[in-house]
Amino acid sequence: MFDQRTLRKDVPVKYMVLLYVDAGIDARPGQPEWQASLPGHRTFIDGANERGYEFSGAALRGIDAATSVRVRDGQRLVTDGPFAETKEQLWGYHLVDAPDIDAVVELCSGLWEAANGTVEIRPVIPMQAPTQG
């Protein structure tokens, strides 16, 4: 006999949706690209709401506002700028619960960032998992 209590329900998977755009784009609210991206995010949020997926997200200030911290040999080094100089910048993210990767891809397909940059989807490791169910 198997006991259902030993099994833990942990679906849907949580996905991080990372929004990358050209580093040259001015990420400030009200700038043309910002405005252009808004309808896509509205569609994303409406889609998630309609399907009953939990979600959260945020837009990030630009690379100019980035600060990096590194500790080496006990010494803390705080520097201006992002983790790495790249041609693309991370300018926002969504966090969404969805049943599978296809559902997330579908939600992301209408994003302005998908058409003008890259949307990277990463599954989130569930951290609050009990060691024994």
Partner: protein, 419 residues
């Protein structure tokens, strides 16, 4: 109950493997766990069936036993991702009697091999991972067999498979058919993987690698499976027809010494009539849908060659028209090259040369490819321009790869030109 032979049990188990794996993987959403569980179920069958007989529905028996094994494996882990339905299913399997007198599960399991195939060919996986995963999971090849077929070190391939299985699990790649809107592009991906397996096998038949698993046979099995499970998808039927029509010429393509025999010199008595007939039936059924596609067109071309009673009786006009349609639908330099050669046969060498001209322009993708210069040489020869033909053969020889039989073939044709 009749005592089944070991070989019979193995045959039944092998036949049911993919369907059982599909059923278990869909529930566990974890291919590695599902594979181990199915392996355990197959071993249980080898132990129990000689004594108890082969169950009425072997797939159902194996699925129950495999799901039970999967549940034990998952329970031993600290975390896993399952929804209520999956849990209920596994628990039910754990409580069910897998078979034996009085406990026989009556109904067959639903065929979920197609769902499994779509998961293995998901675009979130790299193409080489899709190919490896499909051969391992759906075709049931061992890691060693796949590694040998692709001339890779076994650990390399094993790692590729592990990584792919992990991605399927962690990314939540669904074991489900795409919705109607996404079906065309996703099916295209599945067919592409099957076609890659076939072309890899096709390329190998001329080589000396007799040790290799027959990828052509595996591709044909996969293509037939897709065509059977999606009987209304004309391109699925077209791909199966293409593989069969090509493979029908297998025995004639290589002479006893292992050399490649060019199409116009092949012994047509060696063509496999059963495969040709099957390809024809598939293509006829595809044509009913009135939605031609690249695989159907290529199958029709391959069938024209396979059906021609002699090389001279080949209907080059029909082939040229099929290539023209293919060039419109899926343009590529290789298609243009083949089209030029076909037009050269149908309408005379000068017409073919005119089509070849732009392909040889500086910087064109095939400008420095031996096949282009070989086709060029062939048309020049037939146009009676022997001097230019010789120059083109020499250029083709310079560019031809050292391995394979292309050089030998070109040298022979060049020698014939001098006579």
């Amino acid at each position: 109950m009749r005592q089944p032979a070991h070989a019979e049990i193995e045959a039944v188990a092998r036949e049911q493997r993919a369907a059982v794996l599909a059923a278990v993987a869909r529930t566990t959403r974890d291919l590695a766990v599902a594979e181990d569980a199915v392996q355990e179920a197959l071993l249980a069958a080898l132990r129990q069936w000689p004594r108890d007989g082969i169950p009425e529905v072997p797939a159902a028996w194996l699925t129950v036993v495999a799901k039970r094994a999967a549940l034990s494996a998952l329970r031993a882990r600290s975390r896993y991702l399952l929804d209520d339905g999956a849990i209920a299913e596994l628990v039910a399997a754990g409580d069910a009697q897998p078979g034996g007198p009085g406990g026989e599960p009556a109904s067959a399991i639903p065929d979920e091999r197609l769902e499994l195939l779509f998961a293995c060919c998901h675009p979130a996986l790299a193409l080489d991972a899709q190919v490896a995963l499909t051969l391992r999971t759906v075709a049931g090849l061992t890691t060693a067999e796949i590694a040998r077929a692709f001339l890779l070190a076994e650990p390399t391939l094993a790692q590729r498979l592990v990584r792919a299985q992990r991605k399927v699990r962690d990314s939540g790649i669904p074991f489900a058919l795409p919705d109607a809107e996404r079906m065309p592009e996703r099916l295209g991906g599945v067919l592409h993987v099957v076609y890659l397996v076939f072309t890899e096998g096709h390329a190998a038949t001329s080589g000396a690698e007799r040790m290799r698993v027959d990828l052509c046979d595996e591709a044909i099995r996969l293509a037939r499976l897709v065509a059977t499970l999606l009987p209304d998808e004309p391109e699925a039927l077209g791909l199966a027809a293409l593989c069969l029509a090509h493979d029908a010429r297998r025995a004639a393509r290589v002479d006893p010494a292992g050399r490649t025999v060019p199409l116009d010199e092949q012994d047509r008595a060696l063509y496999d009539r059963a495969r040709i007939a099957e390809a024809e039936r598939l293509l006829d059924r595809a044509a009913l849908q009135r939605a031609p596609g690249p695989y159907q067109l290529q199958a029709a071309i391959a069938l024209q060659h396979a059906l021609a009673p002699t090389a001279a009786a080949t209907d080059w006009q029909a082939i040229a028209e099929l290539y023209a349609a293919l060039a419109r639908m899926a343009p590529s330099p290789v298609v243009e090259l083949n089209r030029a050669a076909a037009v050269g046969m149908a309408d005379g060498p000068e017409a073919g040369l005119a089509l070849l001209e732009p392909l040889g322009a500086d910087g064109a993708p095939l400008a420095d490819h031996h096949l282009l210069h070989a086709a060029w040489a062939e048309l020049l020869r037939r146009a009676g321009r022997g001097f230019e033909a010789a120059a083109a053969y020499h250029r083709a020889l310079e560019l031809a790869p050292a391995e394979g039989t292309a050089r030998a073939d070109l040298t022979r044709r060049l020698a014939e030109l001098d006579r």
